[in-house]
């Protein structure tokens, strides 16, 4: 479907490249495939950890005019993103405090519906309250 307006992009920052890629794949499919969901997982040499360069590249690619929501998996991913955002002036990027998989899926679906960055971030953070059973 052609998009008349830009959608919020999503960046998933994980210590594991495979975890980030799997979560991005799942979120993108549940969201119907129209939203840019990018994985930034693992270190530059493919190990477990986070890479500021990978995150920076994903942030740049995910921006299509409506801003970017970033979801970190665990503590030091948050530190990596925060350090990066401190140096990014003028960028429309929000760091979400949300469960990784559920937040990614909720954010992507909300972005696919055309919601703005504030609403997409809210959808991700509301994922704390969603019961599975």
């Amino acid at each position: 479907m052609a998009q008349v307006a830009p959608q919020v992009g999503i960046v998933l920052v994980s210590h594991s490249a495979r975890l980030a890629e799997g979560a991005a794949d799942l979120a993108a499919q549940v969201g119907g495939g129209t939203v840019t969901v990018l994985a930034a997982g693992g270190t530059d040499d493919g190990g477990l950890g986070t890479s500021a360069d990978k995150v920076a590249r994903a942030l740049a690619r995910a921006e299509t005019g409506a801003g970017v929501l970033v979801l970190p998996d665990l503590g030091s991913a948050v530190l990596t993103v925060r350090a990066l955002l401190a140096d990014l002036t003028g960028a429309s990027v929000v760091l979400a405090d949300a469960p990784f998989v559920e937040g990614a899926v909720a954010a992507t679906v909300t972005a696919a519906a055309g919601a703005d960055l504030t609403a997409v971030a809210k959808a991700a953070e509301e994922a704390w309250h969603a019961r599975k059973l």
Binding site: Q29, V30, E102, V109, A112, A113, G114, A127, A130
Partner: protein
Amino acid sequence: MPASSESITLEGDLHARPAGALAVAAGRFAAAVSVTAGTRTVDAKSVLGVLGLGATSGQRVTVSADGPDAAEAVAALIAILGDATRVGG
């Protein structure tokens, strides 16, 4: 504001992808839209809420909407429930 409601019997389980399609479609309407399965009612615009229904094949599901485009929202979501739950996913 006009309100609208319609029910459908699912022909398959409400898996992640149809739940996503439902929530994406619901999010495009101005109306407040809810989905009811059994005793639970959730916001149709919340994919996690819709998934949390755990709606299964053969279950009767009701879509309700309240707002300026309520009738269109209900028609769109009933159509998605009819199509998507046949495919699964």
